[in-house]
């Protein structure tokens, strides 16, 4: 019965409200009328044609003619609204029969900036929550494929990292830190035009993890950044609690571009970009490498090189030198992006259609690349009386990615004297069977095709005065197909594999979702204040079907894409999941005297991801703001133009755990026994887990000076995420690596966010704007009952961030053995796990960006510096023993006994030397491999010129030059401090393009 309390309360309340409103609204019509007329002019005195003039709260309206003249019959003592795109809307009380109006251009100051908060919109100045926004202006013509890339460095509290430079790859986004102990539990909720968009990767991890770190493919790859009008990120409780169990990690609202009803505009944009690896590692050359290898044998007391030490025993030419980085990732990736759009409309209806095609090459050798085609249609309509509104959109996004199955970046550490990749005849060179040629791996391909369809409809009707009922409906469909081929040709020919050994894996994915959200909005403006009430409900369903096929033993490798030609065909997966979600939500906002604002939100929601007695949860928040600059004492202040204090507190939740985890079931096994299908235990049974909850507290100060020429804000937040829903790691003796359960641990994310904006120069020909954001996040595990006895004892420490790693304390190199030494913390005479005493935080300590926009006549220059202070793993973290057959960074040449200055590394050794091997393994787990990964990067630079050709009036032509990741300052000695080790680093991109509008 408990489950119905919210609804039970809401229903009678709504009825009362509705009836009251219905009767009150009838009073409206009993008033006198008069004919009003006037002229509308722009600031320079010229008459304005087509300005919409209408009486407030009625369907009574007209438009100005060629001379800016209008006349309208209105009721006396009413308000008149003047609206024109690009100009500030004016509302004027009717006093005389003549009303002349001058409209001023909307210069996009904060005053009119309206923020989309998802279920409602709010004026930026009057919002009580913490919301960051970027618009199409910032997204601009950046040559990026993923909208998240366009957000990097531009928002306080939003940390985005690119995990691989391979096209179609992944991004990691964290809004105000890691709340969940599970990596996958930290994804935000994405909402595109009101329709939730799954945050999980569409890629099958098994097929894609060789080329994409962790098989992570960002679901937002399908979106064209240029179709986006704005992206809002909701951060604090006030903004996110209305998203209930899904708002814990923040909400990313994406709004697509809409057409304007002004005139028909065609737009054509095209750019070409070239991307390259921005920095190569400084690897040893042949002499340095061979010296190191020979020393390893000397140190091992081995005089005769073994048969398989091809690099030093003379099998391979010892005078060869190849920088394998240039061979494997040294190419130029060419990208092309072309977009066409047409938008327009008349009066009440507008539309926008856009079509985009994008093509990305890769820096790898071979014919690989990524293609995407986007179509989008957006239609808006309102009835003449503006009581009815319609907005609908359809998007179709197709992606096609053709890559190798394993990132070739892993091969850059080949010995520098390894043989040529091709023999004289142009075939792959196996050097008489002594060389595992990495190029052979290119024959193993990873192909992915994804097609998304998003349709969305938003209807609203003003049922009575101030009462608007609206209904959102949306549906998405994603079809994906992934193929990974493993032809026999990837193997050493000495194995004599034939197409009988070739295999292919294929996964077909079909995802569908729908959402229905009815809601009702009531607003009341009185003398003392404004009241807004919102009530709504969500019904949502997401289903997924996966069919996995594998084939092996092919007739011929030419048939490898056709499973029918495989002698052995298997269905590896035939699975479905269904997720249902239902919620009721409400918002109450009261503004008193335009100075004091209270905003209360609540949501009760239920999710099918939990067991029957754990399905429902309650969430809510309270926010308040005080616009103190509107107090009498400050109103006349000449320098302070705006000041606001705001604070919020509330609870949001997190249900990102996958479906059916509470069931005690067996699933179909991958293999058969005795020709029969098998059933395997899927997980350890625990039905009693529930929401992860995140209690968020925030306080902020927002200020503007000198008429908005300077603006600054500071926000402090503290989020406490508890009831952690985790796969608690278990020892292998339990049969499983983990069990799904709620952990009593609490993770706190707190920090400061600062933003600063200034208009440094505003002249007729010149303008210069600067904006700056800075986030100082702190993460701390504040509670963890029985941590010492738990399976996390060696992973976490109370009072430390959850991003710590426990490592050995590096002491230096023992001058007698020439090996690394570590601190024996417990003095038991040996170095083992119990000596991993140093807690090293590899999390981010500070990040932000500084953006400048300069304009001179037709030129505009925009550049963004991104900065991150963090610790990162050096390439040593994943390297093999120094002395074995693997190339190393030049700095490793300063090893013990090398005579090259101070020894940084132990003496080169072979794995047969137990002590040396162990010391090196410990080294890879010591604080010595965690280095400064901070960087300052010229993330984006854009130079634009708008051509003004008198003969071609009505046509605007713009050319631009764009750069991405142009310069990076860092002490990090690996390839790139941002991307994951072992994968292709983020690329440097330079693009050139043009836009024509007419």
């Amino acid at each position: 019965m408990k489950k119905f309390t919210f609804a039970a309360l809401a229903v009678p309340l709504m009825w009362v409200l509705l009836l009251l409103l219905f009767f009150s609204s009838n009073k409206l019509h009993a008033q006198e009328t008069m004919v009003l007329s006037g002229v509308v002019k722009s600031a320079d005195g010229s008459p304005m044609e087509g300005v919409t003039v209408w009486q407030k709260d009625t369907d009574n309206g007209t438009q100005t003619d060629l001379l800016g003249f209008y006349s309208l019959e209105v009721s006396s003592d009413s308000f008149l609204i003047f609206e024109y795109i690009g100009f500030k809307t004016q509302t004027i009380r009717v006093t005389n029969k003549v009303l002349n109006v001058t409209l001023v251009p909307d210069d996009d100051t904060l005053e009119e900036l309206v923020i989309n908060a998802g279920y409602y919109s709010v004026k930026d100045k009057e919002r009580t929550g913490s919301i960051s926004k970027i618009t199409s202006k910032e997204i601009g013509q950046q040559p990026v494929a993923n909208p998240l890339a366009a957000m990097q460095g531009r928002m306080a509290g939003v940390n985005i990292t690119q995990s691989s430079g391979t096209p179609g790859g992944g991004f990691d986004i964290q809004i105000r830190g890691r709340n969940s102990l599970r990596t996958e539990g930290n994804a935000p909720l994405y909402i595109v035009d009101g329709v939730p968009y799954a945050s999980q990767s569409n890629a099958d991890q098994e097929l894609s993890s060789g080329i994409m770190p962790l098989g992570n493919v960002s679901p937002l790859n399908s979106m064209n950044p240029n179709d986006i009008e704005s992206i809002e990120v909701l951060k604090d409780a006030d903004a996110t609690a209305i998203y209930g169990s899904r708002g814990s990690n923040g909400v990313v609202l994406i709004t697509t571009k809409k057409g304007s009803s002004d005139r028909t505009t065609f737009s054509l944009q095209s750019n070409t970009a070239v991307s390259t690896v921005s920095k190569y590692m400084d690897l040893m050359n042949t002499q340095q490498y061979l010296q190191m290898r020979r020393d390893a044998f000397v140190n091992g007391g081995i005089n005769e090189y073994p048969e398989n030490a091809y690099d030093v025993n003379g099998t391979w030419d010892q005078n060869r030198y190849t920088d394998w980085q240039r061979e494997f990732i040294g190419g130029k990736a060419v990208s092309q992006n072309t977009q066409f759009s047409v938008g327009g409309g008349s009066g009440q209806t507008s539309y926008l259609f856009s079509a985009t095609h994008r093509k990305d090459g890769t820096v790898y050798p071979g014919d690989f690349g990524y293609k995407r085609t986007n179509f989008m249609l957006n239609v808006n309509h309102h009835s003449k009386d503006r009581r009815f509104n319609f907005q609908g959109s359809v998007q179709k996004n197709d992606q096609n990615n053709k890559l190798m199955a394993t990132d070739l970046t892993t091969a850059i550490f080949l010995p520098p004297n390894a043989p040529a990749l091709y023999d004289e005849a142009g075939n792959i060179n196996w050097e008489n069977n002594t060389f595992e040629n990495p190029l052979a791996k290119l024959n193993s391909k990873y192909l992915s095709e994804t097609s998304d369809l998003i349709a969305q409809l938003n209807l609203s009707y003003e049922v009575a005065k101030n009462v608007r009922f609206s209904l959102l409906g949306g549906s998405t469909r994603t079809q994906g197909k992934e193929i990974r081929t493993m032809p026999s040709t990837i193997m050493n020919p000495s194995l004599q594999y034939t197409s009988a050994n070739s295999s292919v894996n294929m996964v077909n994915l079909n995802k569908e979702s729908w959402i229905v959200e009815p809601k009702i909005n009531y607003s009341y403006s009185g003398d003392r204040g404004n009241l807004e009430v919102l009530l709504g409900s969500t019904f949502e369903e997401r289903s997924q079907d996966v069919l996995g096929l594998s084939g092996s033993n092919f007739l011929s490798n030419d048939f490898i894409m056709n499973i029918q030609s495989a002698a052995t065909q298997r269905v590896t997966k035939d699975a479905q999941t269904l997720y249902r979600y239902h919620a009721l939500f409400a918002r109450l906002n009261y503004t008193h005297k335009e100075k004091y604002i209270v905003n209360a939100t609540a949501r009760r929601d239920g999710s099918s991801r939990f067991g029957s007695n754990k399905k429902w949860g309650n969430f809510g928040a309270l926010g308040a703001a005080w616009l103190f600059s509107r107090e009498k004492a400050l109103e006349e202040n000449s320098w302070l133009s705006f000041g606001k204090l705001r604070a919020s507190y509330g609870i949001a939740g997190n249900d990102l755990i996958g479906d059916y985890q509470y069931l005690n079931t067996l699933g179909l096994g991958l293999y058969t026994y005795d020709g029969m299908v098998t059933l395997e235990p899927l997980r350890l049974y625990n039905p009693d887990f529930s929401w992860e909850t995140n209690k968020k507290l925030e306080a902020a100060l927002e200020l503007e000076f000198f008429n908005g020429k300077l603006a600054a804000s500071a926000a402090w937040y503290r989020n406490r995420s508890s009831n952690q829903l985790v796969g608690i790691p278990l020892p292998g003796t339990t049969g499983f690596p983990s069990v799904q359960a709620n952990l009593g641990a609490t993770v706190e994310n707190r920090g400061w966010e600062f933003t600063f904006r200034s208009m440094n120069l505003q002249k007729e020909k010149w303008s210069w704007n600067t904006s700056f954001n800075l986030t100082i996040p702190r993460n701390e595990l504040i509670a963890f009952p029985n941590l010492e006895e738990s399976t996390y004892a060696n992973q976490y420490e109370i009072g430390k961030p959850v991003t710590i790693r426990k490592m050995y304390r590096y002491k230096g190199i023992n001058p007698e053995t020439g090996l690394f030494e570590f601190e024996d913390t417990n003095n038991d005479g040996k170095i083992d796990l119990n000596d991993r005493s140093v807690a090293v935080d590899v999390g981010v300590r500070l990040y932000g960006g500084i953006q400048n926009t300069l304009q001179y006549k037709n030129w505009s220059l925009d550049f963004l510096w991104q900065f991150v202070k963090q610790k990162a793993f050096s390439p040593d973290y994943r390297s093999n023993l120094l002395g074995e057959m693997e190339n190393k960074n030049v700095r490793a040449g300063s090893y013990f006994g090398s005579g090259n200055g101070i020894s940084l590394y132990q003496q080169p050794s072979l794995v047969s030397n137990n002590e040396a091997y162990r010391a090196y393994q410990n080294f890879a787990n010591s604080d010595q491999v965690v280095t400064d990964g901070s960087y300052i990067r010229l993330k984006s630079l854009q130079l634009q010129y708008a051509w003004k050709i008198p003969q071609l009036a009505g046509i605007s032509f713009t050319t631009f030059l764009q750069g991405q990741n142009l310069v990076t300052f860092t002490k990090f000695w690996g390839s790139d401090p941002e991307t994951a080790l072992g994968f292709l680093p983020a690329l440097r991109t330079i693009s050139f393009g043009a836009t024509v509008n007419f």
Binding site: F469, P518, S537, T568, G606, N880
Partner: protein, 451 residues
Amino acid sequence: MIYTVSFWILLLATGCNDFLEVEVPKDMVDQTKTFNDDRTAEAALHHAYVLLTENGFLSGNAGAAPVLLGCYTDELEVTSPAFPDYMNFYNGAVLANNSSVSALWNQTYAQIYTVNNILEGLKNSTGITEAVQIQLQGEALAIRGILHFYLAQTFGEVPYVTSVDYKVNQKIGKLSVNAVMERALADLKDAEEILLSSYPTAERIRISKSVVHGFMARMYLYMENWPMARQYAEVLINNTEYTLSPVNGLFLKESKSAIWQLKPTINGMNTYEALTYTFFAVPAPNIKLSTSLLGIFETGDLRKTNWIKFIGLEGQNAHNFKYTKMGFSTPVAEYSVVLRIEEMYLIAAEAAARLQDWDACNGYLNQIRSRAGLDDVDVQSVDQAVNTILQERRVELFCEFGHRFYDLKRTDRLMDLQAVKPNWKPHLSVLPLPENELLLNPNLLPQNTGY
């Protein structure tokens, strides 16, 4: 319009909870249901056999214990660093964070969980045929015993897991090697009691009473309980179902010497062993048979000519050729033989020698030798017998499930490996407990000596 609104409001208030109930998806089946039906219960057990075939102690897969233990001792030489763990095992450079060690540990306990879950499910099942229930219980118990036996022999002191409750298993402590052996034996005895002597299906790919007897014979041998070892080995030797096979057809699926085979888990495919060991050109891409093994065969040993294949000209490079069919064939020719009658002859011979029954000892030994084309031997002392039998076991059972390692270990001869591996150390007689495991369950401390 007011009606539309009220319609939606009504909708809000009703039907919300039913909406959230989702059915069990089509690729899963409820635990209770599984064990109330003969076929689904059997499918759950089949999964245990799949796991045994795919990984752990009884798998022929690259990276599973048998090939690693072959590198560890003197059976295999590693020719390429492509599989780092082959190299590490070969060099005795196995550390507590070795990924193959933790994989072996985790996979074996996952196999044990699977059979424990079957035992748990069968305990409360209704609707299942009693004969099936008993058969499945017997097989599950036997697998549990066999796996713990291997764990104790490989890792030393280990926990004996009989529950599916993770709250118990995550804090479980270790037992002494003897205690593990006793409990494993107890499980096998329980299985012996309820299993039939015939196999549940036409092939020898499931556990029958004979399989249990075979493992009991081996376990008694390892525990140096000579009379019992001999008794159980002779039960099988005297069973006419099992006959010594000619050397050249021993690993075929129809082989009469096989007591237990694992059937490949992919339809139409032959064994993993063939894929793991075979190569066609020199230098060998990963591993080859060691020079010391190649040199130990007596002249004219049919096992050398049939089970070893030389590649190239120099007579230096050879691979294990016990399994000759690689990849797919119609029909499938070979299954992986986990337990075979030849081992029973060798167990009986060794036990008889320890009991000083020289006639029996020589009789069993010479039956093995004569079928391999070798002359009879006549042993008359324990030392001589043990030496001869170990040599015989080495050439008979090479590259099969780590026999070489366990034989050297139980006869205290691991240090002999120093002849070919100067770096060999006494502590290598057990593998390290996986580092991560000690972190997650401190009750498993201390780490094995030397690691």
